[in-house]
């Protein structure tokens, strides 16, 4: 479990990182917190020629609020978790982050790194998709911004081009009258989810994001549903996700969790909103 040889290059700014990506393209991997990448390297599942380490790039190490929460590429999950007022600005994130690994991994792991890795069971991609957030990609060719649903294209697959850096992700702030909630079932505290659910309930509509079942976070958009209509919608969603058996959980179990926990979560948020 030792990585194959690679060049290590430290980028001290976003400009430098983008210039290096233009030079190396698919031969390079961006190293931020390394919580997914280092394991993949050590097991030699990936053998890039170069690592571009951005974790000391001072202009990438910020979280800003300009109406959306803008989390820059090198900002850690721990930094987001302790961001002042997070529970008011993005309660979904405040609820989801404690489920994300352990405090040790959150101290190193970055928000953008988790989004870049696009693990179908990871919490942050699910939150980004459910909140209808955006990913800002930057290359020497310029900047572009993609909605999460356009960014996540499959299991570990994203729309990022090889020369692009995820410069930041943007989580929309909680709107007036909105309620957000998160629930997850995993085998142990901090594990990847067997099923994770994120919900946003407004006066008019319900959004339910599901992680851990399909090959990417999947978000259903519904009007405010209750009773049998909600059950029917959840059942259809549970089937659409194409759940699979693995040695931790069956497909039936995953569908069951989507239905039962989805109903519990949405009903709770609707109740809270009415109260």
């Amino acid at each position: 479990m030792k990585p194959a040889a690679f060049d290590y290059i430290r980028a001290d700014s976003a400009d430098e990182a983008v210039a290096l990506l233009a030079e190396y393209g698919d031969d390079a991997r961006v190293l931020a917190g390394g919580q997914s990448l280092m394991a993949v390297l050590n097991m030699r599942l990936a053998q890039p020629k170069a690592l571009i380490d951005i974790h000391r790039a001072s202009d990438l190490n910020r979280i800003e609020d300009d109406g959306a929460l803008r989390v820059r590429a090198a900002a850690t999950q721990a930094a987001l978790m302790r961001y002042a007022g997070l529970e008011h600005k993005a309660p979904l994130l405040a609820q989801a982050l404690p489920h994300l690994g352990h405090f040790q991994t959150r101290n190193r792991g970055t928000v953008c790194g988790s989004v870049a890795h696009a693990d179908p069971s990871a919490e942050l991609p699910l939150c980004l998709a459910t909140l209808d957030g955006e990913v800002v990609l930057r290359s020497k060719r310029g900047r572009r911004s993609l909605k999460a649903r356009m960014f996540f294209t499959g299991m570990l697959q994203t729309a990022r081009e090889p020369d692009e850096l995820i410069e930041e992700v943007r989580f929309p702030r909680l709107s007036t009258g909105e309620r957000q909630g998160f629930v997850e079932v995993s085998m142990r505290h901090g594990d990847f989810a067997i099923v994770a659910l994120a919900a946003v309930v407004s006066r008019e509509a319900v959004r339910l994001g599901v992680g851990g079942v399909a090959d990417r976070p999947t978000v259903a958009h519904w009007p405010r549903l209750e009773g049998a209509a909600l059950d029917d919608a959840l059942n259809q969603l549970a089937w659409e996700l194409g759940a699979q058996d693995d040695h931790h959980a069956s497909a039936v179990y995953r569908r069951h969790l989507v239905r039962t926990l989805g109903r519990q979560l949405i009903s709770r948020l609707l109740r809270e909103q009415d109260a």
Binding site: M1, K2, P3, A4, A5, R29, L37, A39, V40, M43, R44, L45, A46, Q47, P48, H117, A118, P120, T153, G154, M155, L156, Q157, V185, M187, R188, H189, G190, D191, F192, I194, A214, D215, R216, T218, D232, N235, Q236, A238, W239, E240, L241, G242, A243, Q244, D245, D246, H247, H248, A249, S250, A251, V252, Y253, R255, H256, L257, T260, L261, Q264
Partner: protein
């Protein structure tokens, strides 16, 4: 009998006051010797200062001689294959690589390991002809550092011919099963039956017969530190010197020496002071030690190897999997008259020593804590295409008690008795000890009824029963389970010969006993030092030894130097040395006491001359010696004890110089198996009685342990704080075995649990604090009255939790459905989940769910292509076009009609797997159908697949239907199990996209963006 009780912080319970003595345990520096001395006090661990300041001396920290090289193993990606050829030339060409050791070297220099049964099986330290489990070592690369060694290991080319597999027990014993060891003629390598008492009569007379078929899974105890060894081939025929974290049993030193074909005196094994845990598993390093010795011989330099986690999980060892049928003959009152066991052990690809000991360690006490006069047993040992099994904490106990205690639970349920009454009516009575069990165990001491009553009272069982009643009234799933187990310690080195018939045993020569050794010496300034051959793995042996020896000399434990490193060329050791079968407290600490007592007699004789009293009247206390008659006239211990070094001429008559005593002790009760196959398998037998109360969440199937009570009787406790530490650790691991841990294999034998994200071990967040209770009924057979207790919860907790789950789930759930590990998904399947069909058919993505029960991956589906069938078919038959269609294909060349070799890189996200592949087309019916088959191997493992493609016209394009099966082995399967299904879909999506694009090159239509978005959508690649 002394009673100790500890409150359990963190558990919501208030045990009623019991009147029993509360002992405060903790890091209290003011601990002082009790009435009986330091022994029995919760003395703080002397090992911890070094460990907590980062100055521990672990095997990997010790530094090596300059010039030491590093090893990496090449391992089989296949569960079963013939290794036809091996090409190491590319590996040798890597700069910094010294040599590559292969099966050819092994055949030349080594011998196969001796096997515990009479069957023509060969197990070598590297595969020499066939591989029999995924992860089996086939070659070893030696290089200047581990990075280079791994670079080169990736370049070793092994030509495998995959063979049919026998992965599960049922498959391995079936008619026509793939044979692992052809010369044996069967995968059943041992089959023995035993009868004790008169089981036929008991079953005929029984009012009830209660029978259960159960399985015990493969799991392990995963120490933080994996295997480490540094081996050196010594010049001048001096043999081999090995520093490793091998933990014993040192009977295996002989096994290693025989394999290396050196006199055993020339295989020097050394152990470091500290260990990152073993729990039995480091026994299994021994084949690697042999391989590393030979690698050093070939390389001409010392060779070091540090096992990594993937190697450890996939190929180190495992608890033995077992399928048991157990039946009890029961009278109308719930008395068990006889037991009938039919047990099959899954030992993996090889019967590696000390297997089949999983069976025979427990053989003498198969009747558990019960007075059951008759017993019938059939033991079959089966080889399968899995990692060889071996010692794992509890060794044999978890397997036996999971069957026995589930049956006891069933007896109570079927006879509608309080489970406590079944225990009370069947326990070995207090007055019956020492008690000879039906199969030969001489159970030394105990008070099983007393321990049960203590657990019921201090564990507040009545309160738990009230909670259960309240919970059930609200429709919640709350259950209470029990387990009673006898915990053997200090294994009889002769028990393994029970596998032989009495005649074969007579021919082989008797084996018995369990020799422990200890040396105590006094130095120039009267300092006392202790060495033992116990090879501790973190339990705190040095602390306990200092307490025991301090008491003998009237000193403080801090005055005693303890060295627990072992060197087989310099220290006293024997066949039973090492750290297993919970033998430290009963055997090793007792032997240290015996050695110290001998030395004390000698010091007493010297002091007696100076104190003018009889040696028997010399009192050792407070660092001084005095005559019983004149306590005021005291001599310093150090002054008296150092005298013989400085002035040997002044020694009293009959005393020789040199104050050093080595004691060898073996329990005299440990005889060889008798002619009726009765065997006293262990010297001491402790006891544990557990109560588990838990609740199942109906929504998710997750389990919350409300309270766990574990009452132990391990004889005299030498250090209660360390005892509780052992119980907590054993409980945590057993909780994992009950609810999470399982080495998963696919049906084709690929190993699927290669990381701690796949093999789930409970963390502090998942482990509640158990309530620990003790009673102490000293063993009459061990020097200090102590017994082992480190393995009890590995035996009691999995089945106690299973019984609680069975109680919570109620009688509607079949007893046999309780199968470890009880994951939330399994539990909810037993409760029943409504799975209403969808109102409208889901899109294609979800229609492709894999077929269960087939190969690792099997899927089917359909896509619509724009190109017409003939154009698509032409692409498939044209090598150049095919090369462009296969995702990641670098080069493709024909090696026969419709057969090609290709170099393919498959990529998913950051992962890139490069395979040398062979692709073949068959069953060709143009332009309608063909079969596309391929197999490939690469550094990340192997992949093999076959699929049928059927084309039919659909408008101007083609409807392509496919079904395929893929099996993936090696590293990708071991670490990427969660992702394989999705990865296969992605690759397939890429294949069809390229196929259509290529087919359209010859037609007018060009693929519109939306068209192939649509195919991908149908494949589930996008949504």
């Amino acid at each position: 009998m002394r009673v100790r009780r500890r409150p359990a912080p963190g558990i919501d319970c208030k045990p009623p006051s019991s009147g029993s003595r509360l002992v405060s345990i903790g890091s209290d520096a003011s601990v002082s010797p009790g009435a009986t001395g330091w022994t029995g006090q919760p003395f703080e661990r002397r090992e911890d200062a070094a460990l907590l300041t980062g100055t521990g001396r672990f095997a990997d920290d010790l530094g090596v001689r300059p010039g030491t090289l590093h090893a990496a193993f090449v391992r089989s990606p296949h569960a079963h294959a013939r290794a036809r050829a091996i090409d190491v030339s590319a590996a040798l060409a890597v700069p910094g690589v010294r040599t590559v050791l292969t099966g050819e070297d092994i055949r030349r220099w080594a011998a196969p390991f001796v096997v515990g049964v009479k069957a023509p099986m060969e197990h070598w330290c590297l595969a020499v002809d066939k591989v029999r489990y995924a992860g089996e070592p086939v070659a070893l690369v030696v290089a200047g550092n581990r990075y280079l060694a791994e670079d080169a290991a990736d370049l070793v080319r092994v030509d495998y011919e995959p063979l049919p597999v026998a992965v599960e027990i049922a498959q391995a014993v079936a008619e026509g099963a793939a044979l692992l060891h052809e010369a044996v003629g069967s995968n059943v390598v041992s089959d023995r039956s035993f009868v004790y008492g008169d089981p036929d009569r008991a079953f005929a007379a029984a009012t009830h017969r209660v029978r259960l078929d159960v399985r015990y899974p493969r799991n392990s105890c995963t120490p933080i530190e994996c295997f480490v060894a540094v081996a050196e081939h010594l010049a001048g025929g001096e043999g081999y010197d090995v520093l490793s974290n091998f933990m014993g049993p040192f009977s295996l030193q002989a096994v290693m020496a025989l394999a290396l074909k050196v006199p055993s005196s020339k295989l020097r094994l050394r152990s470091p002071r500290d260990s990152g845990g073993s729990f039995g598993v480091k026994q299994a390093i021994f084949p690697y030690v042999v391989a590393l010795c030979l690698a050093s011989r070939k390389a001409g330099a010392p060779v070091k190897w540090v096992e990594d986690r993937l190697e450890h999980l996939s190929a180190a060892t495992s608890a033995t999997g077992r399928a048991s049928s157990v039946e009890a003959a029961v009278d109308a009152h719930g008395r068990i008259l006889a037991l009938d066991y039919d047990q099959i052990d899954d030992v993996g690809g090889y019967l590696r020593a000390p297997e089949p000991a999983t069976f025979y360690r427990m053989h003498g006490c198969l009747t558990g804590a019960y007075d059951i006069p008759s017993l019938r047993v059939r033991n079959r040992v089966v080889v399968t295409n899995k990692t060889p099994a071996g010692l794992v904490r509890g060794f044999g106990g978890p397997q036996v008690y999971f069957a026995l205690e589930r049956v006891v639970h069933e007896i109570a349920r079927r006879l509608q008795l309080d489970p406590l009454d079944v225990f009370r009516r069947n326990f070995i009575p207090r007055a019956a000890f020492p008690y000879r069990a039906a199969a030969g165990a001489l159970i030394d001491s105990g008070d099983y009824h007393g321990a049960l009553e203590l657990a019921v009272r201090d564990g507040a069982l009545e309160e738990l029963r009230t909670r259960r009643a309240q919970a059930r009234a609200q429709g919640r799933l709350y259950g209470i389970g029990f387990a009673a187990i006898v915990e053997p310690s200090i294994s009889n080195m002769g028990y393994i010969t029970t596998v032989l018939t009495p005649e074969a045993r007579a021919r082989a020569g008797a084996k018995n006993g369990a020799i422990a050794t200890a040396t105590v010496s006094i130095d120039l300034l009267g300092g006392v030092a202790v060495t033992v051959a116990s090879v501790p793995q973190g339990q705190g042996h040095a602390t306990v030894l200092s307490q025991v020896v301090a008491d003998v000399f009237g000193l403080h434990p801090d005055d005693i130097a303890v060295n627990v490193e072992l060197d087989t060329q310099k220290d006293a050791w024997s066949v039973a040395s090492g750290n297993y079968s919970s033998r430290f407290a009963g055997a090793v600490a007792g032997t240290a006491h015996l050695a110290a007592m001998r030395l004390r007699h000698r010091v007493a004789a010297i002091a007696a001359a100076q104190l003018n009293c009889a040696p028997a009247d010399v009192v050792f206390a407070g660092g001084k010696l005095h005559s019983r008659a004149a306590p005021d006239r005291a001599l310093h211990f150090a002054r008296v004890a150092s005298g013989p070094h400085w002035a040997p001429a002044l020694l009293p008559e009959g005393q020789v110089p040199g104050l050093r005593e080595t004691a060898f002790w073996t329990p005299e009760q440990l005889a060889a198996p008798d002619a009726q196959d009765r065997i006293n398998t262990s010297a001491a037998y402790g006891f544990a009685f557990d109560i588990c109360a838990l609740e199942i969440d109906r929504a998710t199937g997750s389990v919350r342990i409300d309270r766990y009570v574990t009452a132990h009787d391990a004889g005299r406790l030498l250090n209660p704080a360390l005892a509780d530490g052992q119980i907590r650790g054993g409980f945590a691991q057993a909780l994992g075995a009950a609810l999470m841990e399982d080495f998963a294999y696919s049906t084709d034998g690929a190993f699927l649990s290669g990381t701690f994200a796949d093999y789930l071990v409970p963390t502090a967040a998942e482990v509640p604090e158990p309530m620990i209770l003790h009673i102490e009924t000293p063993s009459p057979f061990t020097p200090l009255g102590a017994k082992g207790l480190g393995e009890g919860n590995s035996m009691s907790t999995p089945v106690c939790i299973a019984n609680a789950l069975a109680d919570a789930l109620g009688p509607e759930v079949a007893a046999e459905a309780i199968a470890l590990p009880m994951t939330p998904s399994k539990i909810l399947a037993l409760i029943g989940m409504a799975d209403p069909p969808p109102a409208k058919p889901p899109t294609a993505a979800s229609a492709q769910a894999p077929k269960s029960g087939g190969r690792a991956l099997a899927m089917s589906g359909a896509v619509e292509l724009k190109a017409p069938p003939q154009a698509v078919f032409d692409v498939l038959l044209d090598p150049a076009a095919l090369a462009a269609v296969i995702p990641g294909c670098h080069a493709l060349s024909a090696i026969g009609e419709h057969r090609y070799s290709a170099d393919v890189t498959l990529g998913i996200g950051p992962v890139r797997a490069r395979y040398r592949a062979e692709v073949a087309l068959s069953e060709i019916v143009a332009p309608r159908t063909l079969r596309l088959a391929g197999c490939g191997t690469g550094a990340l493992g192997s992949a093999e697949g076959s699929g049928r493609v059927t084309l039919s016209p659909a408008g101007s394009g083609t409807r392509l239907e496919y079904e395929y099966e893929v099996s993936v082995g090696g590293k990708v399967a071991a670490v990427g199990g969660r992702m394989l299904e999705g990865a296969a879909r992605i690759v397939l999506g890429q294949l069809f996209e390229r196929l259509d694009r290529r087919a359209l090159l010859g037609t007018d239509a060009a693929p519109a963006e939306s068209a192939w978005k649509r195919w991908l959508h149908r494949l589930g690649i996008t949504q």
